[in-house]
């Protein structure tokens, strides 16, 4: 950061972070309006304002995507707007929008105050969006903190429930511990390369011999980000936190912060091109998918089951990181989008079905849902099929692209482990479907009518999952384009020294 800071940044820079600004403004608006409204009637109004905020942010992202003038770096090389960051902006803001929609009814049923809740979702999204566009490690750290602190609080919003407080506290303690690791990593890489800028790091690492310190830095940053994406062995917190947190928040935090952390990981791994990443990721990916799947096998609580399943999916996604940078990046991007659509959708249904106090989250409560509420059961089945990875769903192509990437990079061992893991995964998702359709309904579990907002949220998720499953071409092309741009500088280097996996014989 050699640029003189006394000069104000050019006004175009503000447009480059327009989505973040829009979200911030709407977040503050929600906070300001909240005390002016009667608490009983504020849910709808505040929810609508926040939802509009996400729509405007989404629109401004699309506008930036179509105005090449506003691509490029801003604020003294701290932020870079490129196809990569735009892709993640769209995914992240869409996740927030759907989470807000699905919270309309939920907050009323659970008697949760709306103002802070929506405000925190919007502020958290600002942090996540910044994570995907920041190319300055210090800014990445700040963005990470913004998003993390928002989610810590959101996890504890069912404050009448001890489990929720436990969830929040656990998440907070372990999370701050993990971010400290990330910060150590940043410090080390600064020590090794003399910069905290992704481009400068990349240049420094390429120019000369790579100091040992850089390897340590890679490992430390991976620990910090590994916690955020819930990759093994930093995944232990996930089931407890997901179980206690409000269901729409789980939908958000199992996809949003994860996608953002994956974006950071992609930037650090492939744009900064830090050393020693291959085995780190290979081992972590294998551990993550295997432990996630095995854990999910024995769960009797649907939220915990989906928590373990989200760990497994993080593992599949990480597998893409082990592949050739360009292929891996585009596969990981597609996976983030597809996973967001199906997982948020599943959690909206789980949240609706859980009812007041989140009473009905056990697998047994779902017995006979297929008969009692055919539409709800059918959509949940659809999302579960997508999570299994059955064709015509986004989940299928997500796995498909990851597998293609790993196979094209000759990682046969990793591919086989991934395939076997998906087979295990099929079993526990299937259990939910079986319980819904093939067990006798239980009379004491109420099924309430789906409110409009939640129905809309589910419909959007279904359509997106279907779209990604039938016409994945456009999204993938965009991801491929941005991946190419991201790793352009490193492509030649990566091609000349491909990673060779011993198990690949």
């Amino acid at each position: 950061m050699a640029i003189s800071q006394s000069v104000p940044p050019p006004s175009a820079d503000y447009i480059r972070i327009l989505p973040e600004l829009v979200l911030t403004v709407f977040g503050m608006l929600v906070m300001v309006i909240d005390p002016l409204l009667d608490e009983k009637n504020s849910h709808q109004a505040l929810g609508t304002i926040s939802f509009v905020g996400t729509l405007v942010a989404l629109a401004s992202t699309f506008w930036i995507a179509h105005s090449p003038d506003y691509h490029g770096t801003a604020f003294w090389n701290m932020v870079r707007v490129d196809d990569f960051s735009i892709f993640f902006h769209i995914v992240l803001i869409a996740i927030a929008a759907i989470a807000i929609l699905s919270s309309f009814e939920y907050l009323q049923v659970q008697r949760i105050r709306a103002g802070e809740y929506y405000g925190l979702i919007l502020f958290g999204t600002v942090g996540m969006c910044l994570m995907s566009s920041a190319i300055e490690l210090v800014l990445i750290f700040i963005a990470l903190e913004i998003s993390s602190i928002a989610t810590y609080v959101l996890a504890g919003f069912r404050r009448r429930d001890a489990a929720s407080s436990e969830s929040s506290l656990k998440y907070f303690l372990l999370g701050s511990f993990a971010t400290a690791f990330f910060l150590y990593g940043v410090a080390m890489i600064f020590g090794a390369t003399g910069s905290t800028n992704v481009d400068a790091i990349s240049a420094a690492l390429r120019s000369g011999n790579v100091p040992v310190l850089a390897y340590v830095a890679t490992a430390l940053m991976f620990v910090g980000l590994g916690f955020k994406v819930a990759s093994a062995p930093f995944h232990i917190w996930t089931p407890d936190v997901y179980e206690g947190a409000p269901a729409p928040v789980v939908g958000l935090m199992s996809t949003g912060p994860k996608a953002a952390a994956f974006a950071v990981l992609l930037r650090i791994m492939f744009e900064a091109n830090v050393p020693g990443r291959f085995w780190l990721i290979w081992v972590s990916a294998v551990l993550t998918m295997t432990l996630g799947n095995i854990g999910a096998l024995v769960q009797g609580n649907v939220k915990r089951l989906l928590a373990y399943s989200s760990i497994a999916h993080a593992g599949y996604l990480l597998a893409a990181f082990a592949a050739h940078p360009e292929l891996g990046t585009s596969a990981a991007m597609f996976y983030s989008a597809a996973y967001a659509a199906m997982n948020v959708g599943a959690f909206v249904i789980v949240g609706h079905f859980a009812n007041a106090g989140e009473k009905y989250v056990a697998l047994d409560d779902y017995a006979g849902l297929g008969r009692r509420s055919p539409v709800l059961a059918a959509t949940l089945t659809f999302f579960l099929m997508s999570l299994i990875g059955i064709p015509i769903t986004g989940g299928f192509f997500a796995k498909f692209y990851v597998l293609t990437a790993t196979l094209k990079s000759d990682l046969v061992g990793l591919s086989i482990i991934l395939v076997l893991n998906s087979a295990i995964g099929a079993y526990y998702y299937l259990r939910i479907i079986v319980v819904m359709y093939m067990r006798e309904p239980r009379g004491d579990v109420p099924v309430t009518r789906l409110p409009v907002a939640a129905a809309l949220a589910i419909a959007v998720c279904v359509l997106l999952t279907l779209y990604l499953g039938v016409f994945p071409g456009r999204v993938l092309d965009y991801a491929t384009e941005s991946a190419r741009a991201l790793v352009q500088d490193n492509a030649i280097r990566a091609a000349s020294s491909p990673s060779v996996e011993p198990t690949a014989q």
């Binding site: 059955i390 597998l403 196979l407 046969v412 099929a426 299937l430 359709y437 016409f471 071409g473």
Partner: protein
Amino acid sequence: MESLSPIILTLVTFIPALGGVLILFIPRRDRDIKLFALVVSLLAFVASLHLPVHLHREPLPFGFEINKVWITSPAIHYHMGIDGISVWLVVLTTFLTPLCVLISWTSIHERVKEFFILLLILETALIGVFTSLDLFLFYFFWEATLIPMALLIGMYGHGRKVYAAVKYFLFTMIGSMFMLAAILWLYAKTGSFQFAEIQDAIRGGHVPGFETASLWLFLGFFIAFAVKVPLFPLHTWLPDAHVEAPTAGSVLLAGVLLKMGTYGLLRFNVGLFPDQARRNAPWIIVLAIIGIIYGALVALVQPNMKKLIAYSSVSHLGFVVLGIFSFTTAGVNGAVFVMLAHGVATGGLFMLAGILYERRHTYEMSEFGGLATPMPKYATFFLVTVLASVGLPLMNGFIGEFLVLTGAFQSRPIYGILAATGVIWSAGYLLWMYQRVFYGTVTHDINKTLPDLNLRERVALAPIAIMALVMGVAPLIWLNAIDPSVQAALANVPQMLNKVVSQ
């Protein structure tokens, strides 16, 4: 009719699914839904008849081709086409589905709407499996058969239906995962999902690393198909699935779903990896022969009628695998013919067993005896179908098994000798079943008043009996179309024993 050629396959494939979607909008009046499902399935059948009638005018090797880009990256095409082998499997599917609708008319009384939607979607997926020429599309339809079938078993079956459905799902799902990995490997190396392009690339030796990988690729496909066939020792899901499935599910399961496996073996394992197929043939034939004999022996001791028929399928499908891996023209022709004959005859047997179940709610043979007296028409239909399944000359079962055995003898006499015992066993268990159920005096009083077949049931069974006879008397109608495609499929298998069909 030239103009129909490019779209006819799409029509045949998607008419049922479209019908299924339309059923969604029909109000829940069961009669309307059943009638509509019947009309849709008959429509698909009539449309599918266009295929065998006009196939000889179509170019080789695949007729009625349609090839459109579906997804650019990866290069997935909507590529369909059929040859003399797949055309009959498509017709078999469309032939059996209306009969399934008829046979389910009264036996399904709960969630009728969902039942027929699932049935029609299943039909589309099954036809798609046989028409796809893009490996990805094939995999897509292959997986698409999984869910409706599992739901049919799990929702409308009886007894341990959930166990059976989950077992069926997991067996096939895990098997097909390996196929997916193999398909993706091929795509990664050739950049194409097109069956013909991959075949050319392999034949021309343009696939890097193929030498070392070919065995694994062969096995990847083989496991997926062997589970479906099912080949000993992967058959354990089949009896469970059959016994618990509703009648229509059993008919399609035995009639068509199992043929997906043998069709896959012939099309992909032999078509893409002829060298490996040749090299691995001995142990596969041994498994097939074990299946033939083991299936027959287990069928012999079954007290449960449906389980007996299920194990007879294991035995009959063993013949198909034996025929394919004998690599003789007679053997492969016979294998394809057995697929069709078994589809008709065993489909018929399951329908008959289902009719009895509807009346008595049991499949235990000890509960019956002397049924020929109260149900003479039923007994007649049953006898015709049993004889077809046994392989009585002039019935359809005979032709296929005879050809397979001819091929097996040409390949190695010991194969033929061992497999031939299977024919004897099958006569044993099927005729013994017939004797126990129909002959003698009526042993249970409740059976004295059992109503005979009604008109609807006769309408459902008559096509089976007619087809069993026609296929037995005039097999050349089928074989004339099958033979050229079989010749083409075998053309690239090394050291082929080129002997002409002895028919």
